[in-house]
Symmetry: C2
């Protein structure tokens, strides 16, 4: 199956037990799921069972033959952390894919560069907001869309809680909001991407996909931890629209001694699953995230990863007048700032609020035209 | 929208901050996601925003209008723990659904009673094993199937790591294994259910569904936390086959101060998502689960929950000769014991190993025929 076609996973172990024993357990648990006695076969050991590559104090590197993933995302996640999620004190802190494994995936279909081209903003960070609050009618939300787009905002996304509600039906919302954005675009000449949240029952999501493409929306918002990581990848591969990923429920993966590191999930796995833009809580906001975490996610979304395009970091949650200039220095230009309440509340005129924040983000082009 | 149509969620808070403030934050964060200032509207407060019902020390009960779930599983999960998963010190420890909410879901399509009827075992606990290890060919696995079925085992499931591999293609495995089970059934007259693991890319899973029904398998194995909770519900509603749920990756939801209680996920949510049989690590095995956790899951799978059928608890992971008799006393009869390595390793003759374990589980019928 090719010796070099292996995936290297680094685990941090928090336990008083013997580290080598734990490492051997992981090799079996994540692959053949049998006791040592039943795992003596030479071919199994060489081709199927995980192999301990290195142990340094409490850090263990295990390699897996990429072939056992079946080159599909669900099984990769299963190999990475399926059964051992049910144990304690094992955390995935690094992952290195083989070129062969990655060659089975497309990664972000658009990525930073294509999205910049579509929007026509080549230089500055992008500005985004969420349509909210849940409870507003499609007409009211479309009213926000028009005003936001008139101000020249780059991306408008549905709040991820906007689904298909009796008080705000999905199709009506998407149609009216996209029409409102279009109307403003025609007036200003500035392209604005509207990302509706498509979360729904599986039947309805599958049914709505073709419909939504016909509406001409700018992209799709989806919460992969809730509807399935491979469903997002499916969208990316089958619907030619930019994908924005929301981190709802993803927090359960993050803990000091268990789970998977922030940057692996919000960086590597997000790109593997086809996200073009990745929302995550910014440091210093209402979520307890640190600068260090945000730096690592930002890096993982843009680092070289075989043929994968770079994805946009979309920091969110507590970005406002007080910190946006500083955040621009932190993230530099390749970021989308998702500003919710602060943008709505800055003044009663949300169109001029958009212009105000855009002013802080600076010029559109590298060189004056 | 009906005052009584509310879902009550109990949160355990671990924090030094003011509990009422945290409770109010949850009410906003899980619904409208705006700051208090933007959430003053009376209609919003009455119909959309969560309401604090009770605070007792660090335990908070919040109710949500069921209407905001859109009566779909992904949005329920989002309301329950979406954004607050990204915070710390908030754990969901109880949930009470409204009758109206539950009326939108079918629950387990078969449940304990129908599965017993299909298999023809009305009284004793059921015996199950997993086809393993990954790495065996379809022919070898089918060989195990035949021997296991000849012994009269009730359920054979794929190991959840068996996907669609170059060394063990999905369709070949499922066909050969089902044929082997059928052959043994014809010889013994005893019905045996084979549950293939259908985990694959979304495209292939959707494509394989009709095919798999045609093969005549006994059910389907799926890992909802990996492929999506609502995808499992979709299978249950659209494919008339019993659904067995595997807990891969589910462990990330369980922690002392964060996440969601074991019995809510492995009990209530599993039934809501249509699982007929729910695998989870048994206490005392290689996973650090307690008797108390197992007792609560067992209860949640069988408790009255409006029109939902009861689902089978399927304790697994370290069940063998040494504890099976004791486990029968613990779970009584309505359980499926999933025995992996111990069943394969008890002697070289797995047919007689099955008979040996069945002997411990006792008689098939309540009264001798």
């Amino acid at each position: 199956m090719g010796d070099k076609n292996r995936i290297f996973v680094t685990y941090q172990i928090t336990s008083k037990k013997n580290i080598r024993e734990i490492a051997n357990d992981i090799c079996l648990e994540q692959t053949v799921e049998v006791i040592e006695k039943l795992a003596q076969d030479k071919w199994l050991r060489e081709n199927i069972i995980g192999q301990v590559e290195e142990i340094t104090q409490n850090i263990v590197v295990i390699s897996y033959n990429a072939e056992i993933t079946g080159y599909q995302l669900p099984q990769l996640i299963n190999i990475l952390y399926g059964n051992i999620s049910l144990k304690k004190g094992i955390k995935v802190i690094d992952i290195k894919f083989s070129k062969n494994f990655i060659s089975h995936f497309s990664g972000p279909r658009f990525g930073i560069e294509s999205i910049r081209k579509i929007i026509g903003v080549e230089y500055r960070p992008l500005l985004s907001t969420a349509l909210k609050p849940m409870g507003k009618s499609p007409k009211e939300l479309a009213g926000f869309c028009y005003k936001l787009a008139l101000g020249g905002i780059d991306i408008i996304k549905d709040d991820h809680g906007l689904v298909d509600h009796s008080f705000c039906p999905f199709k009506e919302r998407v149609e009216l909001c996209q029409q409102a954005v279009k109307k403003a675009e025609l007036e200003t000449g500035k392209r604005v991407l509207y990302f509706p949240n498509i979360t729904n029952s599986m039947e309805k999501m599958l049914k709505n996909l073709e419909w939504i493409k016909g509406i001409g929306v700018g992209g799709i918002l989806i919460s992969p931890m809730i509807v399935g990581w491979d469903f997002m990848r499916y969208l990316s591969d089958n619907i030619a629209l930019p994908i924005m990923a929301h981190p709802a429920l993803i927090g359960v993966l993050f803990s000091a001694n268990n789970g998977i590191s922030h940057e692996i999930i919000l960086g590597d796995i997000m790109r593997l699953a086809g996200a073009d833009l990745v929302i995550y809580p910014n440091y210093g906001g209402r979520f307890p995230w640190t600068e260090d975490i945000c730096r690592k996610i930002d890096y993982a979304l843009k680092k070289d990863l075989f043929h994968f395009k770079k994805a946009f970091p979309v920091p969110a949650g507590g970005i406002g007048v007080e910190n946006i200039a500083q955040l621009k220095e932190f993230y530099l230009n390749d970021a989308v700032f998702l500003i919710g309440s602060s943008l709505y509340a800055y003044s009663d005129d949300i169109t001029s609020n958009v212009r105000y924040f855009l002013g802080i983000l600076g010029t559109n082009r590298m060189t004056p035209t």
